[in-house]
């Protein structure tokens, strides 16, 4: 009987649950994270206008490039300043 060596990472990622969601957006600040793909800014502009019209506070962020994961510093800044994140627009 042959024995082979596993060529994969053998990773079983720990499953992480999302944080509990708030009952409403009242008093929450929403981060709008632009991943820097073309046209995503127009989409986020519109979402921001709609949130503002509803009286929901929001703040804009931008990944330096869509080709890489977001820098840790950016993730920490968003976590420190906002309660919720909308990330757009992957295509």
């Amino acid at each position: 009987m042959a024995t082979l060596l596993d060529p994969t990472s053998e990773l079983q990622p720990a499953r992480r649950m999302a944080l509990p969601r708030p009952a409403s957006l009242q008093g929450k600040r929403v981060a709008l994270l632009d991943i820097s793909k073309p046209r995503g800014d127009v989409f986020l502009d519109r979402l921001q206008d709609r949130l503002t019209a509803m009286g929901v506070d929001s703040r804009r962020y931008r990944k330096p490039t869509f080709t890489r994961v977001a820098p840790v510093e950016l993730k920490q800044r968003i976590a420190g300043e906002c309660d919720l994140v909308i990330e757009a627009l992957a295509d």
Binding site: A18, R21, L25, F43, I86, D91
Partner: protein
């Protein structure tokens, strides 16, 4: 939560499995890159309610 075009349903699922984390996601209609501004705003409007719902406890 994140927004992607509907060509990326598989990619989102694969990456979610690999990271052990599956965030809320809203898919909008592909394509994106050749859209005019008005079309982009219409896509945002169409997705807006679903995005709001994914942010709050249902």
């Amino acid at each position: 939560m994140f927004v992607a075009s509907n060509e990326f349903v598989d990619a989102a699922a694969t990456q979610g499995r690999a990271l052990g984390f599956e965030p809320a996601v809203c898919f909008v209609e592909h394509p994106i890159q050749d859209r005019h501004d008005e079309e982009m705003r219409a896509l945002a409007d169409a997705a807006f309610e679903e995005i709001l719902e994914s942010l709050v406890a249902g």
